[in-house]
Symmetry: C2
Subunit: 340 residues, 2 copies
Amino acid sequence: MKVKATSIDIAHLAGVSQATVSRALRGSPLVNEETRRRIQAAAEQLNYKLDKNASNLRRMHSGTLALLLFEDPTADESHINPFFLSMLGSITRACAQRGYDLLISFQQFSHDWHADFADSNKADGIILLGYGDYLTHRDKLEKLVAQRTCFVRWGAVLPDQPGVSIGCDNFRGGQAVAGHLLERGCRRIAFLGDASSHYPEFFGRYRGYVDALEQAGVAIDPALQENAESTEHSGYEAMRSLIAREVGFDAVFAASDLIAIGAMRALGDHGLRVPQDVALAGFDDIATASFVNPPLTTVLQDTRQAGEVLVESLLGLIRGEAVESEVLPVKLMVRGSSLR
Amino acid sequence: MKVKATSIDIAHLAGVSQATVSRALRGSPLVNEETRRRIQAAAEQLNYKLDKNASNLRRMHSGTLALLLFEDPTADESHINPFFLSMLGSITRACAQRGYDLLISFQQFSHDWHADFADSNKADGIILLGYGDYLTHRDKLEKLVAQRTCFVRWGAVLPDQPGVSIGCDNFRGGQAVAGHLLERGCRRIAFLGDASSHYPEFFGRYRGYVDALEQAGVAIDPALQENAESTEHSGYEAMRSLIAREVGFDAVFAASDLIAIGAMRALGDHGLRVPQDVALAGFDDIATASFVNPPLTTVLQDTRQAGEVLVESLLGLIRGEAVESEVLPVKLMVRGSSLR
DNA sequence: CTGAAAGCGCTTACAG
DNA sequence: CTGAAAGCGCTTACAG
């Protein structure tokens, strides 16, 4: 095993006290420049690294954030939504920029997850990420608030929610997609995805869609809505069952790109061409969206910005500041799948 | 801020010494059952959580593993290879099962990454994951070995490598794909992907392909190999340039699924049908592989097993055991894209 | 089976 | 600007 140098070793080598070593290496302005240089040289010579455990213990914080990534229990492990993985990337980067480490953990919504990380001082705060039935875990969020755990979640921003939420503007995104499809002359626009308060993000997109139709004077036909969760498989099945119901439609707005990609395949299997027979749009703008054939019209959620805002908000909470929930803008990406 | 209960608070409440609290909660067999129950009750009442920083400091270990996920600098951040993300998931799970936390960090191969995590006692060992030019970072691996840092890497298993590597059987995988394509009557099989010692995994697949062709008495035509890195975009471009070269081919073996998916689109754009005109196969079996049209023939790397082996090997290293590099078996998944 | 005590490697008032 | 000292919350020989 390697022998680790401690601040005492540096102190001996540099001929100063251990306290001065600590100050010098932590960048305290109290230290003489020449002394600091001597200490730095000694530290390099001995390949010294700060012991984070000791430092954190003493400072009563961890310099670490925890990310709990929730998976729908129905989805198998290889099907983690690429959108969340992209968020993971940007959160990691945002943490690194601010000198924080990121601990990650996959969780099932159904499990008894609590905030072990925060409780055991391994993390100063936690980020909650993932789709799932909002109503079933709402009480857990309330518990976190009661325990005064610092946390932010990615999700729908609703009026009476526990804690702070960061989410994209699902309503406007839904409006934009439906508005665009209406503009292209579509009148029978199906919606693929859950549309209930259990899934507030999809519901927000649905409400935007309803709003756009109403504004255009197009009647809402409940038969055009079909439940789906955010997987290709679910999108495929939902599309099949919509086709089987023979309700007639000229466009499909899928609540996520994964659903849209599954739907695209189902349409193809039934001999329906996109966009000639059916215009199609999704939501998220995952990498694959621009790569399917035809390229998928969708709504861009800026994951880079989202990661920044999540981390910045959480850090604010940790500093004891008042932090508000925030709705991030979205952007309609028009591509071939809706251009008929 | 919340007031945290310490083991001293529990000791007071339960009427024992702090040392006994520590023993009881750590499951030491030395503690009387009744005492333990009393302590446990007190701990629950005060919502006590072990302070990991203190515990780790005292025990001189961290109970944490770090995962360094390398990205090719050319790839943009949203295009993290789904295969690695799937690995990430299985590594996380394998860690959790063993009571270890996982710290993650995205890195550029080009950067000066070192093993800060391990050095600063934040992690007991590190896992290295990602494609990239092997030759350019080989010296860094050697430095890790010299420093006696515990690490394992996912990648090609080569004879003279520094440290321990876990990888799949790229050679056999390549053999299996090429063998299968030969069996379907293909004779002009193109290879899309780098085939040099800079990218040992792709190179292993290539050598397997060469071996299968030679065994079948089919001549190797260097014109049929086209460089590509593991992205859809790169696959698309490689396919286009192969088509442009007009060398004639009846099958394509892409060194990864991402490359294959890009190639599939390029073939479509040029009016070539898969599999009727060109049989196509990939490598990795990412989720999307079974979802493209036609479903992609590919080689399954068992990420669940890989994650387990990576974590188990690293833990072995940490315990000071002798750990060998390991080659994991692969499995050919025959799907529509190669059945002509 | 239990307690008193030392100590992990830092940070930070306190004193000079 | 620097040092001596206390203490963060645990774990673990040592003694009984």
